[in-house]
Symmetry: none
Subunit: 231 residues, 2 copies
DNA sequence: CATTGCCATAAGGAATTCGTAAGATATCAT
DNA sequence: ATGATATCTTACGAATTCCTTATGGCAATG
């Protein structure tokens, strides 16, 4: 069977979370839970869920603010679940980046249908991305999550792979320090530029023939890094 | 101003169509109207609207059927507007391919917000045509952050690149000293015209064939600089 | 012809950014 | 618990980039 859909619910009411846990078919969906906005932001970064269900009345941050902060770096579908039914609330949430808005109480069937819509949307446009980047003996298979140099497989740690994969998704393009850090470590680490130096060094030792004269992983001083695919 | 958004409304009630026509800001949206499902299908094909607003209670076809037939060949966003508020209606419509479902009566502000969401979705996925400025052997790829002269890559420092990119974003136009300084060094440095001379010199050494007789980077005495693209 | 203002170029030290190594801490399976 | 692996942290020399200063050219002006 195919991977289960991972849904993150950000809501402080235990009753709602329990309700969702029992309503969502367990063999199709896997539920992640956060009780606060901060926890929700963190979990989105670390767990990379397929959908976020967001309550507006959170104890720490306002739900609108959570949506806005998510949209600074991710396009994960956000469905707001709120007791507030006022039109201005809906408009604010949708304009802040939410993709849908359901007023409590809502029917489970409708929620599931709207989740399917959101998944359809995030599915779309994903196909054309080429899952294999190849150049000069280096092969990065993004679908299989494997890297080869001259037919021998290179073993990469999770962070090393995420870093290389981020570069490989936009071959030839410069990715800034901030973009890479956000992609690999999450937005909270977007200033820790030295992580990049350490991990770039490790990557170069593994995939470059002469790590001191990198062929693939080029430094763009003061800006970021790029993966070179052409000659 | 940018092209108006084209919205097709498929609804047999003249009252609704009139209501929409008067509610949608006329300078942003252009409204196309169909009274029947068949007419709606035909108009979608011929007019290629940006959004379809679909009523379920049509005289000829059922709205659900219209949504299904549209989805056979187009991904245009479909927002259902219906008096039917039953959950099964919503689920059917959404699963038939609709992207959103609003129960009449609805607020105009909410409809507009949901239209914006739909437009955001259809925007996404289209890769923004990457802006390249090219002239006489010089090529500036603003997306990849790369500069070539006769196919050989020119390496630029962050400030050099920012300066050249600022000029390349308005090819042929004069940018004043103040504009360039603000762009590269920030508004606090808008009087340091001297920086420009130094960096222009460096740029010319890197991208001009004869730095003493600049072909691309022209000085406009007393005013600023411009990037020449034409012959 | 001297002066003034704007521009171009060269050069060197200051400041920032990079690469690398190595040790400390955390995580995980055995 | 133990060892293996991965991540985080720190430190420092090297490399690069930035800023500043100095010098000279050219054109317009009086």
């Amino acid at each position: 069977m195919t991977e289960r859909i991972r849904i993150l619910v950000i809501d402080d009411e235990a009753a709602i979370r329990r309700f969702l846990r029992s309503s969502l078919p367990e063999n199709e969906y896997f539920l992640l839970e956060a009780e606060t906005g901060e926890a929700g932001l963190r979990l989105t970064a670390t767990e990379n869920p397929d959908i976020v269900l967001l309550d507006l009345g959170l104890p720490d941050l306002d739900g609108i603010e959570v949506a806005r902060r998510l949209r600074e770096w991710t396009e994960v579908p956000i469905i707001v679940l709120s007791a507030r039914g006022r039109e201005t609330d809906k408009v604010q949430a949708l304009d802040a980046g939410a993709d849908d808005y359901l007023t409590k109480p809502f029917g489970v069937k409708e929620l599931l249908a709207r989740i399917r819509v959101a998944l359809r949307h995030s599915q779309r446009g994903k196909e054309p991305a080429n899952p294999v980047v190849e150049a000069d003996g280096l092969r990065i298979d993004l679908a299989a999550r494997q890297v080869f140099l001259d037919t021998v497989e290179i073993r990469l740690t999770p962070n090393e792979y995420k870093l290389l994969a981020a570069l490989a998704r936009s071959p030839g393009m410069v990715l800034t320090h901030k973009q890479l850090l956000t992609e690999v470590w999450g937005p909270a680490y977007s200033e820790e530029a030295h992580y990049l130096r350490v991990y770039m060094g490790q990557l170069r030792h593994k995939i470059e023939r002469d790590p001191a004269k990198p062929r693939f992983l080029r430094t763009e001083p003061g800006v970021g890094y790029r993966l070179i695919v052409e000659d």
